[in-house]
Amino acid sequence: MIEVKHITKTYGKKQNAFVALDDVSLTIPKGASVAILGKSGSGKSTLMHAMSGLDRPEKGEVIIDGQNILKLKQKAVDRFRAEKIGFIFQSFFVQGNESVYDNVSLPLEIARVSRGKRKARVDEALRAVELTDKTKSKARNLSGGQKQRLAIARAIANEPSIIFADEPTGNLDSVTGDKIEKLLFGYNKQKNVTLIIVTHDPELAAKCDMLVNIKDGKIESIEQADVKAAKVTRRVTKKVQ
C-alpha cells in the first residue's frame, strides 16, 4: 500500500518559486493499477518522482508498506528503489551503446543480484516482452516500440513490487501501444504488482482500477473502478442512443 499525505513540492526560490505539487494526498492499495491523468505541466511526473523516492518534497509523507520513505537516509532510499521499484521513463533512457542484455542487467547489478541469478532473470524479462531474439543486439539498433519494450523488460527484471510508468505508450502507434498495455496489465494482474501509469490517454486510463486527475499541482478528483464502471456504461449507453 502507498499512502501519500499532504505532499508539497516547490521549485525555485522566492519570487521565482513555483508550486508543482500542492498538498497532494492519496492512497493506493497493493496490486492496484492507477492512472495519473492531467494536462502537460500539471505535475504528474513530479508526483511520480515523489512517490518513488527519486525526489524529496519539502512537506508531507510518502508511506510505502508502513515506512515513510522521505525520512529514510539516502542509502536506504537508493536500496529501496533498487529492490522494490521498476521505472519506465517518459523518454525510455535505453542505453543505446550497450547490448539489450546489458540494459536489462543494469538494475540487477545495481541491486547486487549475483551473476548466476541475473542471467535467468534477464532472459525471463526479455521473453516476457518478446525480445529474446534481440538479446545480443545493440539497443540503439532497436525500433521505437522495441526500445519501449526493452524499457519494460528492464523495469520488471528485478521483480519489483511497484512499477512506475511515465507515458509508456506516448510515442507509439496504436497496435504497439496495445501490446505494451497488455504486457503491463498482464504483469500487474499475474504478479500482483502495483502499477502506476502517468498518461494523457483517457482510453489507457479507463483500463485502470483507479484514476487520479491532477490540475495545476492539485488533485482534482480520484475515481475508483466501480464509479468509473458506471461512468463508462453511461457513456456507452449515450453512444447507443
Partner: protein, 423 residues
C-alpha cells in the same frame, strides 16, 4: 553494485570511447616509458658498478690510512706539525703516512689475516729485447681479483714472474697464446734519491685480458708481493718515504668478520674503508642520474594528470543521462563515484602497461647496440626488473585514480531527476 560488475562496466565504457581512452593513456604512457627506462638504467648502472667492484676487490679487504683530522688538507689556516713520515703537498699541507709500527699494530688486531702496505710504485719502464720502452704501474697479484685469463695460469705467482695485461703483451710483441708464457720481460726501476736504475728480468706467468671493468688497469703489471715490495723499497730507499706507506690493505680472515675488523681498525685510530665505501660515489652518481630521468618521467605523468581530469569531466558530461538512470535505479553515490574512479584506473593501467611495455621492447633491442657503443662487453646497461613494472603500473593507476576523484565526485553528486531531464 558489486565490485566486479563496476570494474566490468568501467572497462566497457572505455571501450566505447576507444580513441579518447587511448590518447589519454598515451600521455601517461610517455611518463611510464621514461620512468621504466630510468629504473632500468639505474639497475643496470648499479649492476655494472658492483661488477667493477667485485671483479677488482675482495670483500674481506679494508683500505686503511692514517687518521686525517678535519683540517689536514685545509689550506685556509696553518696546520700544526705532526711527527712522522708524510707526503708533502704544495701550500703547506701534507698527508701522514703509515709506518712499520702502524703495520705491526694493525696485524695484532683480532681476525686480521694479513696486512699489506700499499706500495705506491711505478716502474720506470717495461721493455723486451728489440722492443720499445713503455711506462707501467706495479701491483701485487691478488687471487681474489677476477680477471679473464688469455694464456698461462696466474695462480701461485713466483718472485721472478709477472702477469701482463694483453695490451702490454701486444706492444711487446708477445702473441696472446701459450707460446708467450715463460718469455722474459725487463722492468726497470729508478731510485728517487740517487737516480740509480735497476733492471728486474721477469718471466711471463700469464696474460690477462685488458678490460675497462678492471681497476688494475691495462697498464699495470702484477707480480708477487715480495717483488713489488722489493721494487718499491729500491725506488724510495734513502728518501723520507722509505718504510712509509700511503696506506695498507688489511685482510680479514673471513667475510663475516670484515665489518668487525673495520670497526676495530677505526677504534685503533685509523681510517678504514671497504671497497664498497670507496666505490660509494659511483652508486651515488648513478642514483642522481636515475633521479633526473625519473624526474622527467614524473613531469610527463603530471601533465597527463590534467589530461585524465579533462577526459573524465567530458565523460561525465556526455553520460549525464546514463548516470541519472543508474542513480534513479538505485545505484549508490559511492558506487557511481567508484565507476568513474575505476575508469580512471583502467586508463592508468593501460598507459602504464603500454609505456613500460614499449620501453621493455625498445630497451631490449637497444641493449646490444649500447653495450657495443660504450664497449661494456657482455654486460647490459638496461636491466629491467619485474618489480619495476608492477610498481610503475600500480603507481600510475593510483595517480590516475587520484586525478579521477574530482570528475567522479561530480558524477556521484548528479541529481537523477535533473540528469534525466537532459535529453
Amino acid at each position: 553494485m558489486k565490485l566486479a560488475d563496476t570494474i566490468r562496466r568501467a572497462g566497457r565504457s572505455l571501450r566505447q570511447a576507444k580513441a579518447r581512452t587511448l590518447l589519454t593513456s598515451l600521455a601517461i604512457g610517455v611518463g611510464a616509458f621514461t620512468i621504466t627506462l630510468a629504473l632500468a638504467a639505474g639497475a643496470g648502472g648499479r649492476q655494472y658498478a658492483s661488477d667493477i667492484i667485485s671483479s677488482n676487490t675482495d670483500v674481506r679487504e679494508l683500505y686503511v690510512q692514517p687518521k686525517m683530522d678535519e683540517g689536514s688538507m685545509d689550506f685556509t689556516k696553518p696546520q700544526e706539525y705532526v711527527e712522522g713520515p708524510a707526503m708533502q703537498f704544495g701550500g703547506g699541507a701534507s698527508m701522514k703516512m703509515l709506518t712499520e709500527d702502524d703495520l705491526a699494530k694493525l696485524e695484532k688486531i683480532e681476525n686480521v689475516a694479513e696486512v699489506t702496505p700499499i706500495y705506491n710504485a711505478s716502474a720506470l719502464y717495461i721493455t723486451r729485447e728489440g722492443q720499445k720502452k713503455y711506462q707501467a704501474g706495479l701491483e701485487p697479484y691478488n687471487a681474489a681479483i677476477k680477471s679473464e685469463v688469455l694464456a698461462g695460469v696466474p695462480g701461485d705467482i713466483k718472485e721472478d714472474e709477472v702477469i701482463l695485461p694483453s695490451a702490454f703483451a701486444e706492444v711487446l710483441g708477445l702473441p696472446l697464446a701459450e707460446e708467450s708464457i715463460g718469455k722474459v720481460v725487463n722492468v726497470a726501476m729508478a731510485n728517487a734519491a740517487t737516480g740509480e736504475e735497476k733492471m728486474y728480468p721477469l718471466k711471463v706467468r700469464a696474460i690477462i685480458k685488458s678490460s675497462i671493468l678492471s681497476a688494475v688497469g691495462s697498464t699495470t703489471l702484477q707480480t708477487s708481493r715480495a717483488t713489488v715490495a722489493e721494487m718499491y723499497d729500491f725506488s724510495v730507499e734513502g728518501t723520507p718515504l722509505a718504510k712509509a706507506y700511503v696506506g695498507a690493505t688489511v685482510m680479514a680472515n673471513d667475510e663475516a668478520n670484515a665489518e668487525d675488523v673495520k670497526q676495530a681498525v677505526i677504534d685503533a685510530g685509523y681510517d678504514a674503508q671497504t671497497a664498497e665505501d670507496l666505490m660509494g660515489f659511483l652508486f651515488q652518481f648513478i642514483n642522481v642520474l636515475m633521479g633526473i630521468l625519473i624526474g622527467f618521467g614524473a613531469l610527463a605523468v603530471l601533465t597527463s594528470v590534467f589530461g585524465i581530469i579533462n577526459t573524465q569531466y567530458i565523460s561525465v558530461l556526455e553520460r549525464t543521462q546514463q548516470i541519472g538512470l543508474m542513480k534513479a535505479l538505485g545505484m549508490r553515490r559511492r558506487d557511481v563515484g567508484r565507476l568513474f574512479k575505476f575508469e580512471a584506473a583502467w586508463i592508468g593501467f593501460l598507459g602504464g602497461a603500454l609505456g613500460s611495455g614499449v620501453a621493455l621492447l625498445a630497451g631490449t633491442m637497444a641493449n646490444p647496440w649500447i653495450s657495443d657503443t660504450l664497449s661494456l662487453g657482455d654486460s647490459h646497461l638496461l636491466i629491467f626488473q619485474p618489480w619495476s613494472f608492477a610498481a610503475i603500473i600500480g603507481g600510475l593507476m593510483f595517480v590516475a585514480v587520484v586525478s579521477g576523484i574530482l570528475p567522479s565526485r561530480k558524477a556521484a553528486k548528479l541529481d537523477p531527476i535533473e540528469a534525466l531531464r537532459t535529453e
